[in-house]
């Protein structure tokens, strides 16, 4: 096996006693103090995550916008300078290559933030389409990424900069912000369903930035948090995770990502297959499940409505925020009706669960 990659913050995680595990080819902290307390701190206070394993590609040139429009299911016309959109990327058959964020610096300059586990595959996929007027650069090794998430995140970050952050709106970014004298890019994004920021910087500066954020966070109950908490937080907020709710076999429509698939924008890879799926009717649809009996819903558990098998769990966990077990599942479309009671099979025994509307958790104010 190839040696696992380490982020520039690896030594910080070790020093903090983080449990390090393999994730997408990287050695990453899964938890420090414990997932439950890290989830609570993110929801109630503020948490700092190392997400440097994510990949970053720069797309530049006069044909950059057209290039992206042909790859993305979402419409790049929604972008303007300083604006970010989320978009799936599809194969011609409608399965999903990855789900990514697109940052627009200018009409001819975009940053793509891609999943760590998909970075190599994405690079090959995007490289195939490069032609005149477009250049593609992999900035992953030159980019550290930290996520500061939680209601206190703005207070923590504001302590380190003169730049007013309160005007920075959701899914917008500032390409140049000095944080404790370190040049960063700051976006109001995250994968937790909470208020928060993602901060890009030079890998050489990441250690110092981490320390500055930890220090600035002292008065705001900041905790470092690992991928375990991140996974629970994203599931509580019903955000899809590639490999679970999206894959080469799963289309963005099946995952319920209708707002991020634009049929009216014109041609893009996978469009015909998705149009066909829509016309024929989807074979399965992603829905939310809450366990009514005691237990924990896990990926792969089968779901029944009486005698009929109606689906399978794509992600499941215990939700510390809701104090019950939740999961997302691919269900037969006719079965994916909120309010219906179904049975999840846990260790060969049926457990009562209810199909619910997602997200499971939504923060109170924007």
């Amino acid at each position: 096996m190839a040696e696992l990659k380490k982020t520039p913050l690896y030594e910080k995680h070790r020093a903090l006693g983080g449990d390090l595990v393999e994730y997408g080819g990287w050695l990453m902290p899964v938890q420090y103090e414990g997932i439950v307390s890290e989830v609570h701190r993110t929801r109630r206070k503020v948490a700092l995550f190392d997400t440097s394993h994510m990949g970053e590609f720069l797309v530049e040139g006069p044909a950059a916008a057209d290039f992206l429009q042909g790859y993305l299911t979402n419409d790049t016309a929604k972008l303007y300078d300083g604006r970010i959109i989320y978009s799936p990327v599809c194969y011609p058959h409608g399965g999903t290559v990855d789900d990514i964020l697109i940052y627009r610096y200018g009409p001819e300059r975009y940053l793509l933030v891609v999943n760590a586990a998909n970075a190599a595959k994405d690079w090959a996929w995007f490289s195939e389409g490069v032609k005149g007027g477009v250049s593609l650069n992999d900035l992953s090794d030159e980019t550290a990424l930290l996520a500061l998430q939680g209601p206190n995140s703005e207070a923590v970050l504001s302590g380190l900069t003169q730049t007013p952050l309160e005007q920075l709106r959701y899914y917008h970014f500032l390409p140049e912000v000095e944080l404790a004298g370190i040049r960063c890019m700051v976006s109001r994004t995250g994968y937790t369903g909470e208020k928060g920021f993602e901060i890009f910087c030079d890998p050489d500066k990441a250690g110092r930035l981490w320390d500055e954020l930890m220090e600035a966070g002292r008065n705001f109950d900041l905790t470092p948090a690992g991928l375990g908490a991140r996974d629970v937080l994203r599931l509580e907020a019903s955000l899809p995770l590639y490999g679970h709710e999206l894959s080469e076999e799963i289309s963005p429509l099946e995952a319920g990502l209708f707002p991020f698939v634009s049929f009216k924008k014109g041609p893009f890879t996978g469009r015909e297959a998705l149009v066909e799926q829509k016309k024929e009717g989807l074979r399965r649809r992603l829905g939310g499940l809450v366990l009514l009996d005691r237990g924990v819903i896990r990926e792969g558990y089968r779901i029944f409505d009486g005698e009929q098998e109606i689906g399978v769990v794509s992600s499941g966990t215990f939700s510390p925020t809701l104090n019950k077990s939740i999961g997302m599942a691919f269900l037969l479309p006719e079965s994916a009706k909120p309010g219906e009671e179904v049975q999840v099979i846990i260790r060969n025994k049926p457990h009562r669960a209810q199909i619910v509307k997602t997200p499971f958790y939504r923060r109170e104010s924007q």
Binding site: V30, G34, I35, V36, G228, R294, G295, V296, T317, F318
Partner: protein
């Protein structure tokens, strides 16, 4: 050592403890095991009257991320289960040798499991696993 290993108990290599009192054996998971598992959020208990067999799963403990079996450290019959764990699974993390006992098993007179470790041997096992 960071983890408590209680005197007077026997230990299984799979990190259960067993407290012998006459023909009753109280079973739980060790401090080391609860720390590895962290944040126990659900405990599935066996039925009273169920047969316990060494090495067979008797209960299931789940943390946020992991599902972990509690294996029977002795042969016998389950005579009591700790229902407090159903409502308060976090007791496993807070008091693994006390309030978070999981099951009581009745053993036959004279029953012994020679595979169980004393506290020194268990301490050595934990040290070896923790250093790995």
């Amino acid at each position: 050592m960071k983890w408590e290993i209680k005197e007077g108990l026997k230990y299984a290599r799979t990190h259960e403890w067993a407290g012998f009192e006459g023909d009753l054996v109280t079973v739980g998971i060790t401090d080391y095991a609860q720390d590895m598992l962290k944040d126990v959020v659900y405990v599935e208990l066996p039925e009273i009257g169920q047969e316990a067999q060494v090495g067979e799963s008797l209960a299931v403990l789940e943390s946020v991320k992991a599902v972990s079996d509690l294996y029977a450290p002795v042969d016998g019959e389950v005579v009591e289960v700790n229902e407090a764990l159903l409502d308060r699974p976090e007791l496993v993390n807070e008091d693994p040798y006390g309030e978070a006992w999981v099951v009581r098993i009745r053993i036959d007179a004279g029953y012994e499991n020679p595979e169980l470790l004393g506290e020194d041997d268990y301490a050595a096992l934990v040290k070896e696993e923790a250093d790995r």
